[in-house]
Symmetry: C2
Subunit: 203 residues, 2 copies
């Protein structure tokens, strides 16, 4: 009864498709990092396509904007959170399950340069926010399943999901801003500790 099912296909075609998508996304991010936050306009579509070994037309079969391509990896990563939470044992308290899921979600830690690039570039930040927001829905569903609430009717699971996503986002920003000596997982734990006391169900 999953609302989001990401099957892992053995189909050759589908695998190629995934590969090209990742190739384009990786190329886009790499070029963006090379140019830096202020040179985003210099990253042309044809450059991305060429770097990915693909035609410009194909690039935009997969993405409808450069921002989307650059943030693809982050979007895919964010989508994992809900699934990971579902995989936690059902009898685990929500607070622990959430923490564990978020930490597990951060393995391996995201590419620091990439995250930094995205967080420091306004246009990319917007796209990243969209990615985070998209991840909230499956997360809310997973939370609802654990708490016996309904994401379509109740505020609780949606607020919790949004708050957790917000904490992860802030933690990421903090991590890329600092000197990086503190492990990402630790920053995540601290950020979550600020909002998790609010898991108290009241309705």
């Amino acid at each position: 009864m999953h609302a989001t099912d990401d099957e892992q296909p053995r189909d050759l075609r589908t695998r190629r498709k995934l590969e090209t998508r990742e190739a384009i996304g990786a190329a886009a991010l790499r070029l963006a990092i090379e140019q830096g936050p202020d040179g985003l306009a210099l990253v042309r579509v044809r450059d991305i396509a060429e770097a990915a070994g693909v035609s410009p037309r194909t690039y935009n079969n997969y993405f409808s904007s450069r921002e989307e391509a650059i943030c693809a990896f982050q979007a895919d990563r964010a989508r994992r959170l809900g699934r990971i939470l579902r995989a936690r044992p059902a009898d685990e308290p929500l607070e622990e399950a959430l923490t564990a899921a978020v930490i597990e979600h951060a393995i391996p830690p995201p590419d620091r340069a990439g995250l930094r690039m995205i967080m420091e570039t306004p246009e990319l930040e917007g796209e990243a926010l969209k990615a985070f927001a998209l991840a909230e829905r499956p997360l809310a569903e997973a939370i609802a399943e654990r708490t016996g609430t309904d994401p379509d009717r109740d505020l609780y699971p949606n607020v919790m999901a949004a708050a957790v996503a917000a904490a992860v986002r802030v933690a990421g920003r903090h991590w890329v801003t600092g000197d990086g000596s503190e492990p990402f997982a630790d920053v995540l734990r601290r950020a979550l500790a600020h909002i998790l006391p609010a898991v108290t169900r009241k309705e």
Copy 2:
């Protein structure tokens, strides 16, 4: 020592400028609502400009995308939150001050059709998320001021600001999704109640 100062100018020029900006934003939103979430592509720049009684070139002196123009009112509204919180009495407990600020911020309640349009249109939602994220910084600064923390070093004020913004956002979505019988302020209160218990300072 404000980081964001929105002066209210009596200058004729500046007033005209503000009027133009609002005229364009209002026209953009109105046209978008007319076309509905699926007809966003039909809202051309020249239509917006014409409806606002201004040249297309002028339109894009103010906004660099239709989405930005359509969501301008929401962005301006979001920016108010930090200022409102600062205006609350300094001795008021953070939890109460936050609630009061958010409620006050919702007066007058936002245009339901506009909010609905924005929430139901993916491209606009992205822009709205950016607006919310932009409002987080001044909010975090206001929270930091109240709690004696530093938004540049500490996680706490940033996490709290993001969580509050997230709650407001979710409340807004819930409000426009439902039948609207419940006042927006009540939805806000309920949403905040889920995260405000987390105001416990731990570091």
